[in-house]
Amino acid sequence: MAVNEFQVESNISPKQLNNQSVSLVIPRLTRDKIHNSMYYKVNLSNESLRGNTMVELLKVMIGAFGTIKGQNGHLHMMVLGGIEFKCILMKLIEIRPNFQQLNFLLNVKNENGFDSKYIIALLLVYARLQYYYLNGNNKNDDDENDLIKLFKVQLYKYSQHYFKLKSFPLQVDCFAHSYNEELCIIHIDELVDWLATQDHIWGIPLGKCQWNKIYNSDEESSSSESESNGDSEDDNDTSSES
């Protein structure tokens, strides 16, 4: 019965997390709209990517979301929350990068003027969307603990930054509205706060999550404060290096 149920629905990734397909994190209607959009068919299908791995997708991500420091900010064309963003997010969910890849992308050092702020925003949204189910109580699973630690550190790190991003308003779904919404400039700390407190973003529902409570953990325990201090020092080092 289950096999037949999967066969009826197309565009379901064979990879699994949390005892289900990774594609089910995004609801059916949104998933169908994403798969039927022209950008996904032209740029993100397996034939156009010439593969189905992170190496091929990274080229598309850098080409779409990469920016250069000091360049005129008007000329960047990609917007968070738009159709292109959702298509790339869907492909990222289907590919499901592993821990090493996530760690590399979230901690990348921007050299030669390259700025990966949009890619970082994409990955934070992906982590919140895909790995909402992680629970720190399971002490036997080291992979989960590593992921939780990575995501907590990154959320706190980027809540202390304030670089600017072009975006749809965070409560707006670009598919649902027939008229054009006004774009706006948001800051990365606003995005992190939204991911930590709200249950939906750009029309995509976010699951109940336990590792995104960065404010409670900071205020309740002093050990987390010391960790946060260490994180801030690391941030200073990275900023000085960059």
Binding site: K69, G73, H74, L75, H76, K117, L183, D189
Partner: protein
């Protein structure tokens, strides 16, 4: 009338005589001035002296007229001599003074003016020119930059394959450059951080208030439970009232039975019991008639 006419003729004749007498004195003075001029070796001095000589003659004429008019004629030549001496002294004093003063002052003023004005003017002009050039260069650079941006934006807008042009225009109008006014962004970040902290604090206070209300209601419920135990007596009172009510009702029933004639035994009025007999007129045989 005739006397007046005679006086005028006499005045004119006396004037001529006085003029001839005076001519001798200015001649001597002129010779002296000529000598001094030759010593000074300057033509201008000579001209000045000539001017002074001319000035003397009309003064002498006036004095002569006055002397003729007055009866006392001896005093007038003394006054003439004194006036001549004063004039000569003035001319001697004035000779050296004006020349060097005028020339030096003018020369110095002109030189100072040139010295002061020229470098200031030159410096100011140079500075103004430099600033103008710099402003021109800046304006040219800005104009070039704007033109380049406009061209690139237009190119991207035209070559983009998307049909949502308004979205692309909005995207191009926004600027996400982080290097622009980073201090202001930092201040705004601090403000946002404070707002988030206050929001979180409000949420925690609300949770605490809710828990306190829950505990208060629970305590009240416990109190009500105790009060309920005490209220059991009241229930007993109610039961007593009910028993009394029942007794009253039973009494009423007894009274009613005496007045009711419904259930009394009476004689039979109709012996045939309706239409059940076979001899009746409306009797009809049916399938149930056998029963």
């Amino acid at each position: 009338m005739s006397f007046r006419h005679f006086k005028r003729r006499l005045d004119t004749s006396s004037a001529d005589e006085s003029s001839s007498a005076d001519e001798e004195h200015p001649d001597q003075n002129v010779s002296l001035t000529e000598k001094s001029a030759s010593l000074s070796h300057s033509d201008l001095g000579g001209e000045i002296l000539n001017g002074t000589g001319k000035n003397r003659t009309p003064n002498d004429g006036q004095e002569s007229n006055e002397s003729d008019g007055s009866p006392e004629s001896d005093e007038s030549p003394e006054s003439e001599e004194s006036s001549d001496n004063s004039d000569s002294s003035d001319s001697d004093d004035m000779r050296p003074l004006p020349r060097p003063l005028f020339m030096k002052k003018k020369a110095n003023n002109l030189q100072k003016a040139t010295k002061i004005d020229q470098p200031w003017n030159a410096q100011d002009d140079a500075r103004v020119l430099q600033t103008k050039k710099e402003n021109m260069i800046k304006n040219i650079d800005k104009a070039n930059q704007v033109a380049k941006n406009y061209e690139t934006m237009k190119l991207r807008l035209n070559t983009n394959y998307s049909t949502n042009e308004e979205l692309i225009k909005q995207c191009l109008l926004l600027d996400d450059n982080d290097e622009v006014d980073s201090e202001k962004e930092r201040q705004k970040w601090f403000e946002r951080q404070n707002e988030r902290k206050q929001k979180h604090r409000r949420i925690q206070l609300a949770k605490q208030r809710e828990s306190e209300e829950y505990e208060a209601k629970r305590f009240e419920a416990m109190q009500k439970g105790k009060d309920g135990n005490t209220k059991y007596d009241v229930i007993l009172d109610k039961e007593k009232e009910k028993l009394d009510h029942k007794k009253q009702r039973s009494a009423e029933k007894v009274e009613k039975s005496h007045n009711n004639n419904r259930y009394k035994i009476t004689r039979t009025k109709n012996v045939e019991f309706g239409d059940l007999g076979k001899n009746s007129r409306d009797y009809e045989e049916t399938e149930y008639s056998v029963i």
